[in-house]
């Protein structure tokens, strides 16, 4: 695994950590700030800090360090949780999220000075009596944010604390005695027990751009003292392979640093020798002479720099009365942090491998269907073995799909922050209600639903929920309620975004639609149709353009995004009482329940999600606007008849009496699709046309049927759109 892959893993774990943090803060808001929750928060921030250090993300690491310090005080009882502190911690969490995004190159480095100052002030809240001077701004206290790139070693000076910027450090020149003084960053306690840490990178420790010194520096930042290099393996200059690592280090680490924290530094390295043992430190300082003697021995194999501590260190004494860490730990190759007990239940799998599995299972389903068809042609269709194979295949397919399933929580966890930002921007107060966050849906859907959902939420707060004064005037609680819910219903996931705001002002929507030429002034529109006008391209009722929900171009984009996922969006509203948007999406994009229909000599699949009913048309149900344009009366509702054959240029049955009428619905309403016959109803494996051929209007994908034929999957919305462009073929 190369460094990029490991770093990617770090980012994934950071995302998970951030999600855990959001959940924990929600718990805290409800008064659940118990020790375990605080510990979980601490651990998540600590892990992010460790990884950031390993990969040289200085800004992230520095910020996480400050954040962690306050959390550490909180978990050790030095601070008590108050609403004010929680606000600071949540603000810091948002900044941490931004730092993680910046480390991934998704945004610029956030300005964290205000939050750092707030953290610094918070860290003194309990400890310092009011008479003490206020805490200095964090930036002045420690770790000025480096301005150079993340891997710029210039930043090291800043990271090493105020001593590094002391005048003598800047003196430059060749007065190294002064510079050496920098070594004494922390006065080592004279006789306190400490961890003895021995580290030796693997021979290929520089592979993939790894830089062992970064980890040594991280240990130094954590409080390591007496860092001594072991260069005894360094070969003669003529034999030196510059790509191999020959050095090792020994250092002391205060016992206040948890063992797992030390191990966490090496979380992302492979093949290193790492030995952490506990021992009683000698009463007197061991080493670090001001000007170490350099043994420049003629004999090449002799170690060049072997400070006493490295060569002549006594064996570790395992006699520390620390009950937690008494077990001796042998030198290990590639650390396995003990905190990984929970990780044993899960493994990480590359998405590519998963996709290949799902694809193969899809092929298996197709092959099974073909086999079944072939056997049935020979009168063997009903054999029990075939039924078993069919059941197993379906079960295997469900299992494979469930591996890709993710809880909606991963999307919903981002909502609180959006709300916080909106509250800050609008001055409105919003209470978030989240339901069904554990509802699972395919990863692709989870990944692609975030944007439309965010837009709906922004829209609800910006346009829906009123300001506090307006709400009080309307007899509502000052705080608005935004409900975000997910549930599985009939094999689809239904996501609801509902607010208790002012609702859609239909008169205004209609007026605006008329003004923009979207509807005719005399159009007879139902309430539902008026509500749906907000999805019309370019429609906006915003009196003033805000930077929150954009320029009113959003809702049609939301609808398009949802449709691209094979979903539909609906809106219902009561003026004065709120608006509710409902998104209905398939649980997966890889399989689809469809009706197999014949049109001429072609076979098509119509997604069951679009089908309302199917019927044979009686002549008296049909009325004709022209020879080609028909209207079907379905129990009093007049629906346009879409002749699928002509629409897709396929020769087909033209006599309505000989065809099947399939009533379909989409976001734009209902219509009737006229096909020659219904063949079957079954689950089909969706194959992308875009990936394998090219996009075709009115067709959303393809599948392979049991007899090996390719059947196109109709895009009902697309067909209805086509019909509008060819009105002569529809009503």
């Amino acid at each position: 695994m190369d460094l990029d892959a490991i770093q990617q893993m770090f980012f994934q774990e950071s995302e998970e950590g951030l999600q855990a943090l959001e959940s924990c803060f929600a718990t805290c808001r409800e008064g659940g700030d118990d020790a375990e929750t605080i510990n979980t928060i601490f651990r998540a921030v600590h892990s992010i800090k460790g990884g950031a250090g390993a990969f040289g993300h200085e800004h992230l690491q520095t910020f996480a360090h400050h954040y962690e310090s306050v959390l550490d005080q909180l978990r050790s009882g030095g601070l008590t949780m108050t609403p004010a502190l929680l606000d600071v911690l949540v603000a810091a969490f948002d900044t941490l999220t931004d730092h993680v995004a910046a480390a991934q190159g998704e945004r610029s480095t956030p300005d964290d000075s205000a939050v750092l100052a707030a953290l610094e002030a918070a860290s003194h809240a309990d400890a310092a009596p009011p008479a003490e001077p206020p805490a200095a701004p964090a930036a002045a206290v420690e770790a000025p944010a480096p301005t150079a790139g993340s891997d710029d070693f210039d930043a090291l000076l800043g990271l090493l604390g105020p001593e590094a910027s002391a005048p003598e450090a800047a003196s430059g020149g060749d007065d190294f005695d002064a510079l050496l003084g920098l070594l004494d960053l922390e006065p080592a306690p004279a006789a306190t027990p400490s961890w003895r840490v021995r580290v030796r990178p693997s021979g290929n420790g520089f592979a993939n751009g790894s830089e062992p010194l970064l980890l040594i520096r991280e240990l130094s930042r954590m409080g390591a003292t007496d860092i001594a290099v072991d260069a005894s393996d360094l070969p003669p200059f003529d034999e030196l392979d510059v790509q191999r690592s020959y050095l090792g280090w020994t250092m002391d680490m205060p016992t206040e640093v948890a063992r797992e924290d030390i191990e966490a530094v090496f979380e992302f390295v492979d093949g290193w020798q790492i030995d952490i043992s506990q021992e009683e430190a000698p009463a007197a300082p061991v080493e670090q002479p001001e000007a170490p003697e350099v043994s420049v021995e003629p004999a090449p194999p002799a170690p060049v720099v072997t400070p006493p501590a490295a060569a002549a260190k006594p064996e570790p004494v395992e006699a520390k009365p620390n009950p937690v860490e008494t077990k001796p730990t042998p030198a290990v190759t590639k650390t396995a942090p003990p905190s990984a007990e929970a990780a044993a239940a899960t493994i990480r799998v590359e998405l590519d491998k998963l996709d290949r599995l799902v694809n193969l299972v899809g092929e298996l389903v197709i092959t099974q269907a073909m086999l079944a068809q072939r056997l049935s042609e020979h009168g063997l269709g009903g054999t029990s073995e075939l039924t078993s194979l069919e059941n197993l295949t379906r079960e295997l397919q469900d299992s494979a799909m469930s591996i890709r399933a993710q809880p909606m929580k991963t999307v919903f966890n981002r909502v609180p922050r959006i709300i916080r930002e909106l509250e800050a921007d609008t001055g409105k107060r919003v209470r978030l209600q989240v339901e069904g966050e554990m509802t699972e849906v395919d990863k692709t859907v989870v990944e692609r639903i975030g944007e439309p959902l965010t837009h709906l939420i922004r829209n609800a707060v910006d346009h829906g929920i009123e300001g506090p004064q307006d709400r009080i005037a309307a007899g509502k609680p000052e705080e608005g309620v935004l409900r975000v819910a997910a549930e599985q219903r009939s094999g689809r996931i239904v996501i609801t975004v509902a607010d208790d705001g002012r609702g859609i002002d239909r008169a205004r929507v209609r007026a605006k639609a008329v003004e923009r030429g979207i509807v005719a002034p005399d159009a007879n529109l139902s309430e539902e149709e008026i509500d749906n006008l907000i999805f019309a391209p370019g429609f906006s009722t915003a009196e003033k353009v805000s930077n929150i929900s954009g320029r009113g171009v959003g809702m049609d984009v939301v609808r398009r995004n949802v449709q691209a996922l094979g979903g539909r969006i609906g809106v219902s509203s009561r003026f004065g009482n709120g608006t509710s948007f409902t998104l209905s999406l398939p649980l997966t994009l890889a399989v689809l329940d469809g009706m197999i229909v014949k049109v001429g000599d072609q076979t098509f699949v119509i997604p069951l999600g679009n089908i309302v009913e199917s019927l044979r048309a009686q002549p008296e149900q049909l009325s004709y606007l022209s020879e080609q344009a028909a209207i079907l009366d379905v129990r009093g509702t007049q629906l346009p008849v879409l002749r699928v054959g002509p629409l897709l240029d396929v020769p087909a049955q033209t006599d309505p009496g000989e065809t099947v009428m399939i009533v379909v619905e989409s976001d734009v309403g209902q219509a009737v699709m006229m096909v020659d016959a219904i063949e079957d109803q079954r689950q089909v494996v969706v194959k992308s046309l875009e990936a394998n051929y090219r996009a075709i209007p009115g067709v959303s994908g393809a599948t392979i049927l049991g007899d090996g034929r390719v059947a196109l999957i109709l895009d009902v919305d697309g067909v209805m759109f086509q019909a509008r462009r060819k009105p002569a073929l529809a009503a």
Binding site: D151, D152, F153, D154, L156, L157, L160, A164, A169, A170, G172, G173, D174, D175, F176, D177, L179, L180, L182, L183, P201, G205, F206, G209, E211, P212, L213, I216, R217, S220, I227, A228, V229, A231, L234, P235, P236, F237, D238, L240, V242, Q243, S245, Y246, L247, W249, A291, P292, E293, V294, V296, E297, P298, P300, V304, V305, P307, A310
Partner: protein, 92 residues
């Protein structure tokens, strides 16, 4: 009189080979060598090893190899790595 070579700003793993080549060449001249670290903004383990090993080789030849005017960044990292003596006062 000793020869002075200016060290590059970035002494990362990629810079180790050119650095080693340069030092090999200079050491064959059997002249005192000073490496000017003024410009160094970063140094990694690979170059640190090269410097340590080269100094050892120089000593074996009774040739002085020293680093003069190391930058703060260089001093800091080399010191952190337990090799403070490497950036000791340059000998004239």
């Amino acid at each position: 009189m000793s020869r002075i070579e200016l060290l590059p700003a970035v002494l990362d793993t990629a810079a180790a080979k050119p650095l080693a080549d340069m030092l090999h060449e200079r050491l064959t001249e059997n002249e005192p060598l000073q490496l000017d670290g003024t410009a160094v903004t970063q140094i990694g383990q690979a170059c640190l090893q090269v410097l340590l090993s080269a100094r050892q080789a120089a000593a074996a030849r009774n040739v002085t190899l020293s680093i003069r005017e190391p930058s703060e960044a260089m001093t800091m990292m080399v010191t952190l790595a337990g090799c403070a003596d490497l950036v000791g006062k340059a000998e004239d």
